[in-house]
Each structure stands twice: as structure tokens, then as C-alpha cells.
């Protein structure tokens, strides 16, 4: 009983799993580029939770946190670029609805 209540590795992993799938949901379903972006951030965070959790509970000690740190940085960079691109898209198409931007196909 205690084991189930007392938060262990699996609990955190479960949280990350849920966040991951929610991020996936966002990416798949929201048509707004920026929403999609948020979804991606969510996925990255889920991954990060994993790292941190592992660094807490397994022999992947501090390195987990290390990776987490870098991931945050990368996420920031990617977000910046992505938003720039979103702006560019908006200037070209006057919309940032992903499903309306489909000239290239076939």
C-alpha cells in the first residue's frame, strides 16, 4: 500500500508519460503553429522529467540533471527559431494555421 502511495520513480515517469501524450495531442490537433510549438515544449519537458527522475532514483546520478540543463537551453533556442519562422509564415500567408499552409504536396 505504502509503496503505491509513496511517490517513486514510476510515479514521476507516469506524470511525464501523461505530459508527453498531452504534448502529442496538442501537436497533432491544434492548427495554430504556436500551439504546436507549445506542444513540442510539453514533450521536451516530459523528457526532462524523465532525466531528472532517473538522476534521482537510478545510478544515472547528476548526469541526468546535466542533460536536463542542456535540454532546457536547446528548448529555448528551438523556441526562438520556431517563433521567428512562425512570424515569417505569418508575413507570407497572413495566417499561421498549419492546415492552410499546404501548397507543397503530392
Amino acid at each position: 500500500m505504502d509503496l503505491i502511495i509513496e511517490p517513486g520513480l514510476t510515479h514521476f515517469l507516469a506524470v511525464s508519460a501523461i505530459l508527453f501524450s498531452l504534448g502529442l495531442m496538442t501537436v497533432l490537433s491544434r492548427r495554430n503553429v504556436i500551439m504546436v510549438l507549445m506542444g513540442i515544449e510539453l514533450i521536451l519537458n516530459a523528457a526532462n522529467i524523465n532525466f531528472i527522475a532517473f538522476s534521482r532514483f537510478t545510478e544515472l546520478s547528476l548526469e541526468g540533471q546535466m542533460i536536463g540543463l542542456f535540454v532546457v537551453i536547446i528548448a529555448a533556442a528551438e523556441a526562438a527559431v520556431a517563433l521567428a519562422i512562425a512570424l515569417n509564415i505569418y508575413n507570407r500567408f497572413k495566417t499561421i494555421n498549419v492546415d492552410q499552409i499546404s501548397q507543397l504536396k503530392g
Partner: protein, 496 residues
Amino acid sequence: MIEHILQSISQFYPEITLVMALCVIVTTDFFLNRKDHTAGWILFGGVVFSGLFVLMQLGWEQSIFSDTIAVDPFAVFFKVVLIIVSLFIVLFSMQSGEIEAYRSRIGEYYMLLTGMILGMFLMVSATNLLLMYLAFEMTSISSYILSGFTKESRRSAEASMKFIVFGGVSSGVLLYGISLLCGITGATDIYGVNAALATGIGQPLVLSVAILMIIAGLGFKIAVVPFHFWAPDVYEGAPYTISAFLAIASKIAAFAMLIRFFTVSFIDIDSIGITGIWSVLEGVNWNLILAVTAALAMIVGNLTALRQDNIKRMLAYSSIAHAGYILMGLVVLSEEGLTAIMIYVMIYLFMNLGAFYVAMLFSDKLGSESIEDFKGLGYRAPLESVSMTIFLVALTGLPPTGGFIAKLYIFGTAISAGWIWLVLIAGVTTVISLFYYIRVVKNLFLVQPKGPVDPLVYTMSSKVILIMLLIPVLVLGVYFTPVLEFARYSMKIFGM
């Protein structure tokens, strides 16, 4: 620690050179005029220099920066390949009309190109999961921008948007997979991973999830089915130079990363004997998955290419198909297969670069990328058309071009390893590929030009570049011992 780092730095010159080149470009970009391709030449020089350093590293086999980077023949081979491609791409960029139109931003263009090259260098040599991911991201981010470099064009913008959405998700998935892998094995470098798995902490289920996620992440870069959807759109939207770079360099780099990652982490070290045939670790037979994706890639790539009218798109699909062929070499799990891959890569880069280049030249002059508009170009631009024919024939895999040798080796290894069904698919799809390649040739030569018939004039330099691409394609068709030797020599991956 310090001396280790210093000592490591001494073996890190190629990458350092690139970084320095980047800095030089950034600084000079402020005061140099952007009319000529100064930045381009700087980058060219930088690549050449780092190439020299790479050649110095021939035969080294060690791991530096506390097991985050490996300097081994394998890396050297792929770095050489990347350098060749990069040099050509820089030259292309100087010829390209699309890039010329954005001369005011030419500096940024080359900066990002440098970043991309650096990222690929790291991809081929990284042995640490974190660094791998970093390299991956570095390549991706710069290519996101570059594919949207010609901002005015909506297609270009759309390409970059799709690219980043797709790439973002893929990198997220990749990261998640990496996190799981680290979690199970408790290691961040692939040697540790292998060691941990070798001790038999069998976590098949979670391990397979992790592996699949990593395959998905890298599959995106390689553009292998079913992770290929972005490729045609992005290639079509992006400028020719970048399409070519993505289709060749980043694909190859991703392959190198895939190979290093999978072989080092998931191969049973004990099985590496004189036989040269490996066996996968217990419970993780990832090569079957790769086989399936390879088969899919060949089929989908070739079939879809049939109906394309845009030359870039056609080449995109063809490159997807080629990714399938290359994967065959990894599937067979043998040094032989690896050699085959290397040979394939070495030849593939020349013929594909050539095809893209000629297509670029044509499109710049015609203002169209439609194959239908290439009618009768054989009479208006004979040299270019003949070279195009040769490149396409090479891609089809007919002797006496290098393409034949490449296919021969890949098929050969697959047959010798007994993957008959895969080879049969490959054979059939090869036949199918003939259709769309030959269709271009037909339009070039067999159809009378409609509209103007004045000859297209190209600069001498462009012709020279063409010849430089043409020669290896033809020579490697009849005499490929050097490549073979180089490949066999470069097959030593650190840690195996």
C-alpha cells in the same frame, strides 16, 4: 582533467577550424561588402583546412573529451565525405541564382551553413548521447532556417515551417527515447550503454520503446519511410543548394550517427570475431525493424517518384528510395555491409550532387522546376544534359557508372547474408526507378524543344564544377579499388 582536455583539443582541430571559420565570417560580415561571395570563400577555406586536419587524423583511433567524441577511421571517412559535399555545396551556392537574389543576407547564409557542417561533424563522431542530441539539434536548427532562406518565396517559408514542426516533434521523441535509454542503463555514453546491456539487465519492453523512439528520431533525419513525409515538401520548397545538402550531407551524417549508435550500443561485442558477422544483443533485434523500414522506403520512394513533375520533388523521393538501399547494408549486420554502405555513400554523393546541380542550372535559366519544361534541352545545353543523363543513369544503377558499383555491393552483401526477399524488393524497385529517371532523359533528348531553341549559355566555372562531379561518377564505375580500400580501412569504429 585539464591535460586531458588540452590533449583532447589537440585532436579536435577540424571542428575548431570550422568554429573559427564561423567566427571569421561573423566578424567580417559587418564590414565586407556582400556583393561578392567573400564569406563563401572564407567558408570554403575553412572547410579545406579542417579537411586537411581530418586527413591528419587518418588512422587515429581514440576517444576524447572523456568519451564524448570518438576520433576513429569511421568518423574520418564520413568527415571526408561531408567535406567533399560541403565544398561542392559552397561552390553551388556561388552559382545559384536563388541565393544570389538574397545577396544582402549572404553572410548569414554561410554562417548557418557552417553551423550545419559543424553539427554534422559532431553527429558522425559523437559517442555521448547528450552530445549526439546536441549535434542533431544543431544541424536541424540551422537547416530549419536555411530551408526558409529565400524568405520571399511562400514555398520556402512553408518548407521551413513544416520542417521545424516536424523536426521539433522528432527531436522531442528522440530525446524521450534517449531519456529512457539512459534511465535503464544509467549511462550517457554509448559504451556505457553497451556495457550495461551486455551485463544483461534485460528490459526488453522499455528498451524496445526507447529504441523505436530513437529510430523514429534518426529516421526523420535520414528521411526513411515512414518518417519521410517532410522530405519532399521541404526539398521542393528549399533552395536547390539546401535541398541537395539535406538530401546528401545531413542524410549521410544521420546514417553515420545511426550506424555508430546502433552498432556500438546494441551489438554483442563478443560476437565480433574474425567472421565479421555480428549478432544483436539479446531481445533487441532492431535490424528487423530497419529492414522493414528499408523495404518501405524503396517501395514508397520509387513508386511516388513516378508521378512527380517537379524535378526537386522527384529527386527527393529518389533520395528516400536510396536511403532504403543504404539501410540494407546496415540490416545485414556485418562489416561487409558497412563497407557496402560506405562505398554507396561515397558514390551516391557525387551522382546526387550532380543531378541536383544540373537541375539547379536548368531551373535558374528556365525559371521552372517542371520536368515537362526540360523538353529538348539536350539540344540547347548539350554538356549539361549529357551529364544529367549520366548522373541519372548512375542513380538508376547502370554500368559503367559508379551507381552500378554502389548497388552491386549493397545487393551483394544482402544476398550473401541471405536477405533474399529484401534484395528482390530492391531489384524490382530498381526497375521501377528506371521509369522516372529515364523520363527526364527522354524529355531532354527525345522530345523536340517547344518554345525558344536558343542555346543556354553557362559560365566556364559552372562547366568545370560539372566535370569535377562527372569524372568520379564515371571513373568509380570502372575503377573503384581506392574507395573500396578506404572504406574497408575506415571500418574500425571506436569501441568495437
